[in-house]
């Protein structure tokens, strides 16, 4: 079924990176679609970062959303992660990875912002030690 890799009965699973699509033309078209979408999203990111046309406080959020969208495009069109049952293992591993990444980044930012907020400024601490 996929790319001619059928050593044993592989109907239940698909290796990450392999895809269902047959035929060189349609596979190249898939990569071209991904490339086009990625270029569009990247160009939007760089445009938004340098422009005065957009309400300034919205720019960081817009950049993060564009980045996540582009990661999704790469996962779907380049790594061929799908929602199909043969991809369940790959998606579950990815979901666990995303969970840990969110915990590490979100947790660090939250804790450090809280510490910054509650800690006395450094020059005052220095004065107390004198």
């Amino acid at each position: 079924m996929s790319n001619g890799h059928q050593e044993i009965d592989d109907r239940l699973d698909l290796a990450p990176g392999d895809e269902h699509v047959e035929g060189v033309g349609s596979r190249v078209l898939g990569y071209l679609t991904g490339l086009g979408l990625a270029i569009l999203l990247t160009a939007t990111s760089f445009f938004v970062a340098g422009t005065d046309l957009v309400w300034q406080p919205s720019i960081p959020v817009a950049l993060v959303v564009l980045a996540i969208a582009q990661m999704g495009v790469h996962l779907v069109f380049f790594l061929h992660i799908t929602t199909g049952p043969d991809n369940a293992n790959n998606v579950l591993a990815l979901a666990f990875g995303v969970l840990i990444v969110l915990l590490v980044i979100g947790g660090s930012l939250w804790i450090m912002a809280n510490l910054n907020h509650n800690m006395m400024p450094m020059d005052q601490i220095m004065q107390m030690q004198r």
């Binding site: 079924m1 790319n3 001619g4 890799h5 050593e7 044993i8 009965d9 592989d10 109907r11 239940l12 699973d13 698909l14 290796a15 990450p16 990176g17 392999d18 269902h20 060189v24 596979r27 190249v28 990569y31 071209l32 991904g34 490339l35 990625a38 270029i39 990247t42 990111s45 760089f46 970062a49 340098g50 720019i59 960081p60 950049l63 993060v64 564009l66 980045a67 582009q70 990661m71 790469h74 996962l75 380049f78 790594l79 199909g84 049952p85 043969d86 293992n89 790959n90 591993a93 990815l94 666990f96 990875g97 840990i100 990444v101 590490v104 980044i105 947790g107 660090s108 930012l109 450090m112």
Partner: protein, 214 residues
């Protein structure tokens, strides 16, 4: 019974064949096991990068009176780097297709283009690092710059390792052909290279675009 199987097959785009396939399936093929294991490695690599990203985000303002991202980063360079890496991800995909149809010629061409684009990326990054150090903004200048060099340098090291792996795959396909074990390595290399591009999306957004806004 046959009717149900037929009906199932009609609404069964992945040809699972109902429960029959589950009952009779043996262990997964080596390609799936290897690919999945490497997928786990890539995800753990991303967890490692997330720690560097968290460090960078926390230390973004800690410039110790030194230059900030807004003064240091040249977004035009970053855009070119992004283009190189994105194009190399595309040609890496073409190399996977060429390997699947067993076309040695197109595989080598696509891999060579991927290699050139990857080297172009590394050269631009190396020049950026050298110019930062020359301007007195090396990794020892401030906590912000330490975090910057750790994160972006770690990605650069991954790209360097990827290029060494790429050249190894070109040589192995050239000498050994598209054997099953070589094809598994090509699969893992493609996963690695695409994953590097995904991490680069986070790098150019968080480090450069958000970093020069702050």
């Amino acid at each position: 019974m046959t009717d149900t199987t037929m009906a199932l097959a009609g609404s069964d785009p992945h040809q699972l064949g109902g429960m029959a396939a589950i009952a009779h399936s043996g262990p997964a093929s080596k390609r799936i096991v290897t690919g999945y294991g490497f997928w786990i490695f890539i995800l753990s690599d991303m967890v490692m990068f997330s720690a560097f990203f968290a460090t960078y985000a926390v230390l973004l303002g800690q410039t110790a009176g030194g230059p900030s991202g807004r003064e240091l980063f040249d977004l035009r360079n970053v855009a070119i780097e992004t283009g190189f890496l994105l194009a190399s991800s595309f040609t890496c995909g073409l190399a996977s297709i060429a390997a699947d149809i067993r076309s040695a010629k197109w595989f080598q061409i696509a891999m060579a283009v991927t290699c050139v684009l990857g080297l172009g990326f590394l050269i631009i990054e190396g020049r950026e690092f050298a110019s930062l150090v020359a301007r007195g903004a090396g990794p020892t200048r401030s906590a912000f710059l330490s975090a910057f060099f750790t994160l972006v340098g770690c990605h650069g090291l991954h790209v360097s390792a990827g290029i060494l792996w790429l050249l190894t795959m070109m040589a192995q396909v050239f000498t050994k052909g598209f054997r099953a074990d070589i094809m598994r390595r090509v699969l893992c290399f493609a996963l690695f290279w695409h994953a590097l591009d995904i991490i680069w999306i986070a790098v150019f957004t968080v480090v450069y675009l958000l970093g020069s806004a702050a």
